[in-house]
Subunit: 186 residues, 2 copies
Amino acid sequence: MDRRTELLNCAENVARRHGYDGFSYADLAKEVGIRKASIHYHFPSKADLAVALIERYASTHAEALAVIDETSELASDRLAAYVQGYRKALSGGAKICLCAAFSVSRDSLTDEALRELDAFRGNSLNWLEKTFQLANKDGSVSHSAEPAEEAAALLATVEGAQLVARAANKVSDFDQATKLFLSRLP
Amino acid sequence: MDRRTELLNCAENVARRHGYDGFSYADLAKEVGIRKASIHYHFPSKADLAVALIERYASTHAEALAVIDETSELASDRLAAYVQGYRKALSGGAKICLCAAFSVSRDSLTDEALRELDAFRGNSLNWLEKTFQLANKDGSVSHSAEPAEEAAALLATVEGAQLVARAANKVSDFDQATKLFLSRLP
DNA sequence: CCGAGTATACCTACTAGTAGGTAGTTGTCA
DNA sequence: TGACAACTACCTACTAGTAGGTATACTCGG
């Protein structure tokens, strides 16, 4: 693995645990095993790192959604996989979605980072809306309502479920919070 | 208003905007108009401030829930008021719930602060569960399911809705995310 | 004159970021 | 093929500024 990727992995990990204002170049340097100054070679400023982090996160996320679409036919299966993805990302209650972690530190981010964050959220909502439209056709989700509303509600629910589970450091809180939605699936 | 209260107000405001790791005694000092060192007279350490902040937040929240119970009879009216409370707390997309803001910085908090945070969340869930039990009796919430599941789901939804709205700095994103739930009320 | 509250003046540890330099690799051209 | 230039990836040593926190001195109302 090249150093840049290693740094991104490390930064994503620690950012999702402590938030944007909760990690420093010194933390990364210690973890990766190079000097703090050397990180500036790969990411001149922390703002550059933040942008790279969100960009990579967004593309990984988009790929994951594409894989779900390839793997599952039914809207219900796709949505179950979506929720399961957020559950797995929790890492036992230790990490939350990068998007959630960065949203709290919104005012520390540059405009570019905020744009990337916005794009990420937009893509998620588009996929969800598309999937709830499918649900209205294939009937796999019980009493499915307006796709755009369902999409926004589910995004909020999984992000909130992660936050609550992170607060308690317990995955079971995520499960409890998502149970109601999952009970609408067959 | 006494200085301690003034400091708590200021700290709550900035903590809900930037998170626990996103504000400093220097910020508070500047805002309140006393020197940084003088804040240590009121709150010897930042950990003490954090605990005081959560304690006050929890009791204010509990009072607000009691007022809702006094004001409204129907479960649906109570839940609508609950969601509206979180909407108002958003302050136009600038702030989130203190509990959400602190959850991200979980590892920076002391055990005492974490216990207080846990208690706060517990009280919220209790009230919601109790209210969903009422809903099952008075029938004011359509297809109401298991109260504990409904409670966890709604808490996650409003917290997630705040987070999403904060990311975009738009209250309308909160409204969109809570629309689905509110449509179950008369 | 006591003490609550604030101030000055400091501390150590850490923040992001910069300056200047150095091995080792890679590309290019006579 | 050898020589020289350029580049990559790191280093040590530093900057200015901020973090939370402390010791001690002042001030002013009861």
